[in-house]
Homo-oligomer: 212 residues x 2
DNA sequence: TTAATTTATTATACGCGTATAATAAATATA
DNA sequence: TATATTTATTATACGCGTATAATAAATTAA
């Protein structure tokens, strides 16, 4: 009983014209572009790699890239995303703990040590040349980032001496993240200086923040 | 007895060729460029203003600017410098205090309140679109910046409960600066939210940092 | 098949920062 | 004065990110 139009509707093909690329094809092309960009960025740095070069590496024209990414920075943000996916998956793998302070310290340590073990990722995210400040802050202020850092917010609430309202929490969270990045940044970029071990700094810092 | 060559040496004019512009002339031209850039940056933002437009405002060709500044970002850094000159002159005007914690709190408050009173300066320094991260960190890591923030370092040493070694000091200083910028940033950019008064946040933060 | 329509790709062009080369201006020397 | 030399300015050109327009590819409807 099905009319041809129904059959087409079943195939979700109502309109004529060239059909849109399958999701799989799109994703594959996006990954090919991201992989090429990652290789080039790692070798030469973000600012030195042009869209023309990425296109050449992929084997298309520069403007074809814009079918898959909005802009050059959008490609970099995709790489950032996958880095954070890996990092926070690692952190989420820890079960929570009866000693709440120890738990906060442990995930803080995991966070910093991920950056220390993956210096190229740290540089890709936090030290990419040619990235404008708003590019970074849009990323770090974005909803996804907030959700990711929520694990730190919850651990802070549990570990803190006294109950906190939301802006006390925010202040402490910001302080903590600043501290963790500062530790990683100093270790990675001022490597000639004999820094106190990251884990000791983290222990001190966490104590100061939850105690104050 | 002076030979003509000696007379010329006295005038510091030994070589022939077009003489270099006088320091006064150079400085005047640098200021004309900086003023024009400041006007345009304030109106349209750093990234939207081109060297071609600055040149048109000044009344020269784009490349003539490069006799006075190394690059576009060099012009912006000059503006940053003058902003920090004003700000730290204000802070230095406070005499030190018998209550060391009160002094640290007061100069921290002066620092934050300068940014709150001069939002356009804050945006020029910390929120200029099109400024790359290395541009900023080179500036903030520079010797001149360190010297400027030394007043906070000294106040931290005086106010801190216990003696500190240099990396404890550095950590606390970084924490303090992060906090002060965070307060200013939040007040200025999330103005819809009823933030606790900056001075209260500063008081709490300073206590936590020197106590921890 | 042919025309219509939608998607994907390519071609072209713009303004950007600025490197490089050519030119103009200003001086000392011959 | 004419020439050499140094400085200041301008002209030209390059590769950049990407907006826009033209084209190619893939499909349905006539």
């Amino acid at each position: 009983m099905a009319k041809p139009s129904d059959m087409k509707a079943a195939k979700e093909k109502m309109s004529r014209g060239r059909p849109a690329m399958s999701a799989a094809k799109r994703d594959e092309m996006r990954r090919r572009i991201a992989d090429a960009a990652h290789r080039l960025f790692k070798a030469d740095g973000y600012s030195k790699v042009s869209m023309r070069r990425i296109a050449a590496e992929v084997g298309c024209t520069p403007m074809a890239l814009y079918n898959y990414y909005d802009s050059k920075i959008d490609i970099l943000r995709t790489l950032w995303d996958s880095v954070f996916d890996t990092l926070f998956a690692e952190i989420a793998a820890f079960g929570s703990d009866t000693d709440k302070t120890a738990y906060l310290t442990r995930i803080s340590s995991a966070y910093v040590n991920y950056w220390l073990r993956n210096e190229d990722h740290y540089r890709l995210v936090f030290m990419a040349e040619g990235v404008t400040q708003p590019d970074v802050s849009i990323f770090l202020d974005g909803r996804k980032s907030l959700e990711r850092f929520a694990i730190f917010a919850e651990a802070l609430i549990d570990a803190n001496d006294a109950p906190m309202d939301s802006d006390q929490l925010k202040r402490k969270l910001d302080l903590l993240i600043c501290l963790l990045h500062g530790i990683a940044h100093n270790q990675l970029t001022i490597s000639g200086y004999p820094w106190t071990a990251a884990d000791m700094l983290i222990e001190d810092g966490v104590k100061a923040i939850i105690g104050g």
